[in-house]
């Protein structure tokens, strides 16, 4: 994949500026954009690292995911994402689980995430359980079956033990 120095027409500097916005959604977008720019955004590493301390949980999660793409060797991203698996907000826990799965089995230090992800099998929120299971599937190399093939199956979805994994986006 070719490196790019802008995202949606805005440069790295512009997105770094968004990291200090008063609006957490803009901070999240800034972090995401820098992650999409990837290694070409090395000048943003320190700002992304600072964003790992953001007061808002979902911003921390997106900053950690972005940092993993901008400066992949660092293990800090995995540490932050694992910590957010224990966030009090269910959507932040599920978001963190999703990002851990997306890092893939080859990401340095990812093996530390396996146990906490397995522990989420007992989470009270179904979306967290689903995301954790999907992430484990990705990290353990199982992947997920194509959804439309699954829907072609004659058996109703509930008959499959993995059916509830597909009940979410």
């Amino acid at each position: 994949m070719s490196a790019q120095v802008a995202y949606l027409g805005t440069s790295i500097v512009g997105w770094v500026g968004e990291l200090s916005s008063s609006d957490p959604l803009q901070r999240r977008l800034g972090a995401y954009a820098l992650g999409e720019i990837g290694p070409a955004a090395t000048e943003a590493v320190s700002d992304l690292a600072a964003a790992l301390q953001d007061p808002v949980g979902f911003v921390r999660v997106w900053a950690a995911a972005a940092l993993a793409r901008v400066a992949p060797p660092g293990g800090e991203s995995v540490t932050v994402l694992i910590a957010e698996l224990g966030n009090e907000l269910a959507f932040v826990r599920s978001l963190a689980a999703w990002h851990l799965g997306r890092l893939g089995p080859a990401f340095p230090g990812i093996e530390q995430a396996l146990l906490p992800l397995r522990q989420l099998a007992g989470d009270k929120d179904p979306s967290v359980r689903v995301e954790a299971a999907l992430a484990l599937g990705m990290l353990e190399g199982k992947g997920a079956p194509p959804p439309e093939l699954k829907s072609c199956a004659l058996e109703p979805p509930a008959a499959s033990p993995r059916a509830d994994l597909f009940a979410h986006l």
Binding site: L25, W98, M138, A144, E148, S151, H168, L169
Partner: protein, 612 residues
């Protein structure tokens, strides 16, 4: 952005409205919440202002599209050396008991091979780009809010504002899936729609996909067609169902407006309404395929129209899908039109035309439903009798004809034939069910119509039926004569007409409906393509005349003019391009009927030989 060929679109829908999805992953047409509502995406009518919702791979890729088997779930594929990605598009179909009416375009995006970088651009333009809107970014996506309407886009990936739309780029790893949902919630009059409902994310990407596929598969299972060209017949049935408005059972002629019959031309009409004619033919097609519940619902809609017709005024040629009568025509001068084809019109002034043929099509639908569905109820029959009285008193009037010409009324032969059908079916039905009817009077009028056609609608010198009583021009609509049993397909007059139409209106097997510049002027400039329905009528007329070799060749050649998904527009241009509104019910009805009759005439398929 540019315009894509009309045939480069697939269609998805939820039995209230549809969306056209381009082979490049761009949704360029969608009206919400209903077929005849103002548009939210209309890039087919103005590629700059119209609005669109595109999701596509950012790699240089080949594009392909397919429907998931037996369904209206559409897969758009992006194939490149760097990776293969797919977007699965569908609109979940709600059950009739759902209190809150939600319309959703669900787009499941997946990397099939390799990591794939996608880009999403969503830029709605409400009310044919006339109503400005605000974009509000939310944690779960974005809300587009215009006066009187809100649409949300649910996204897992953060969306960035781009002008009056949103955009995102994202990478999916091999096997990874994400879902985007464009959602509109109808106000039900009791409570307003909260943003939480609009942005509710726990739907369901894949559960909705499973349910939607199951819905279509179960529906198609009721179709009993097992003859040749079954996949094309099934696709046509699925299209007709997509064009049906679930609350009333009415079918739209096509779900689009303004797609031109000639590129750059002026014949750009709004087809998002229910023509009595088209709907009656649709009913026939559903009955032919054993889909009686659709026919039953439509008959209820038709009965309401017959009740109106019994009040003494002529029926309208078309209605709103909810049965409403008002379809004021309006020109959208601010839109560029498809490839500069202007004007773009919404509404349809032809609703106020007098088109006498619709009584025949309506009565034929009643007759067939009585035969294959449910016996005609007495109250309905009473309404029909009043309507038939009107036909008996008015069939001699000039009218605007099946082609809705705007060049003045004429004594169109097709209209007379259908008036004959109206009275003939009434007499047959009364006889079959012993229903009360002034048979003597109606039979006398029926026979007068017959003689009028045979004397004033026949050109002895050219040995052909003509378009109207004051011309020698031919018209492809007369191909209907043997199909409605007006006369034998082998009657010398029909054979002569068939030969004359083939000589004067057929171009490389495709049929023009009439020769522009001859016969009744349509009051417009420019030209048009060949009319697909007429090509299928030609196939049927040849089939019934026993000319099955020609019929089969033309039919199978016509199949090659379908797009990559088996969809047809109203017309086909000289280079095989789709022209006119798309997809068009009339064409798919013609395909079903031609396939049914040709297959039956060809007899059972030969068994495959086993071994050398």
């Amino acid at each position: 952005m540019g315009y894509k060929p009309i045939e480069s679109y697939g269609v998805i829908g939820d039995l209230h409205t549809v969306a056209l999805v381009g082979i490049d992953g761009s949704i360029d047409w969608c009206c919400l919440p209903h077929f005849d509502s103002p548009s939210v995406f209309a890039a087919i009518l103005d590629d700059q202002k119209g609005g669109s919702f595109r999701i596509a791979s950012l790699y240089e890729a080949q594009h392909k599209q397919m429907y998931m088997p037996d369904s209206n779930v559409l897969v758009t594929r992006f194939l490149s050396d760097q990776g293969v990605g797919e977007v699965v598009d569908f609109m979940p179909v709600q059950g009739p008991r759902e209190i809150r009416k939600i319309h959703q375009i669900v787009r499941v995006v997946r990397a099939v091979r390799g990591s794939v970088r996608f880009r999403l651009d969503c830029r709605p333009a409400f009310d044919f780009a006339r109503r400005p809107h605000q974009v509000v970014l939310e944690g779960r996506g974005a809300i587009f809010e215009a006066q009187g309407m809100k649409v949300s886009l649910v996204s897992r990936f953060p969306l960035g504002r781009q002008g009056d739309g949103v955009a995102a780029e994202f990478v999916l790893n091999p096997g990874e899936t994400t879902t985007f949902i464009l959602r509109q919630v109808e106000e039900n009059g009791h409570d307003s729609v909260h943003d939480g409902v609009l942005l509710e994310a726990r739907l369901v990407g894949t559960e909705a996909l499973t349910q939607t596929q199951a819905f279509w598969r179960q529906w198609l299972r009721k179709c009993n067609y097992s003859g040749r060209w079954r996949e094309m017949v099934h696709r046509s049935a699925l299209v007709l169902k997509l064009l049906t408005f679930a609350p009333t059972g009415a079918t739209v002629a096509a779900p689009t407006c303004g797609l031109p019959e000639e590129i750059g031309g002026v014949r750009n009409w709004d087809y998002r309404y229910t023509w009595v004619r088209d709907a009656a033919f649709t009913n026939y097609a559903f009955l032919r395929l054993g889909l009686t519940s659709e026919a039953e619902q439509f008959m209820a809609w038709l009965e309401q129209r017959a009740v109106e017709g019994a009040r003494g005024d002529p029926l309208q040629t078309m209605y709103r899908i909810d049965g409403g009568h008002e379809l004021p025509e309006e020109v959208l001068g601010h839109l560029d039109g498809y490839r500069g084809s202007r004007p773009v019109r919404v509404g349809n002034a032809a609703a106020e035309q007098l088109q006498l043929d619709i009584y025949g099509e309506l009565m034929d639908a009643v007759y067939l439903y009585d035969k294959y569905g449910t016996p005609t109820a007495y109250d309905f029959w009473c309404h029909l009798r009043k309507m038939l009285d009107w036909v008996a008193n008015n069939w001699e009037r000039a009218d605007d004809g099946i082609w809705e010409v705007r060049g003045g009324q004429q004594q169109f032969v097709y209209s007379k034939v259908q008036c004959w059908v109206a009275l003939d079916r009434a007499i047959r039905l009364a006889q079959k069910r012993s229903l009360p009817l002034d048979r003597t009077r109606l039979a006398a009028e029926r026979d007068r119509i017959y003689e009028a056609i045979m004397t004033r609608g026949w050109d002895t010198e050219r040995q052909t039926f003509v378009q109207h009583f004051a011309t020698d021009a031919v018209d492809a609509s007369n191909l209907i004569m043997p199909l409605v049993f007006f006369l034998s397909p082998t009657d010398p007059r029909m054979r002569g007409t068939l030969d004359r139409i083939m000589a004067e209106l057929v171009s490389d097997s495709l049929v023009h409906r009439y020769e522009i510049g001859r016969g009744a002027g349509d009051g417009l400039t420019g030209s048009e393509g060949t009319f697909n329905m007429c090509t299928f009528w030609l196939v049927e007329a040849l089939t019934r005349a026993g000319r099955t070799v020609e019929a089969r060749f033309i039919f199978e050649k016509m199949l090659t003019y379908a797009n990559h998904l088996g969809l047809y527009a109203e017309e086909t241009g000289p280079c095989g391009e789709a022209l006119g509104n798309f997809p068009q019910a009339f064409t798919h009805i013609g395909l079903i009927s031609a396939a049914f009759n040709l297959d039956r005439r060809l007899g059972p398929k030969a068994l495959s030989r086993v071994g050398p």
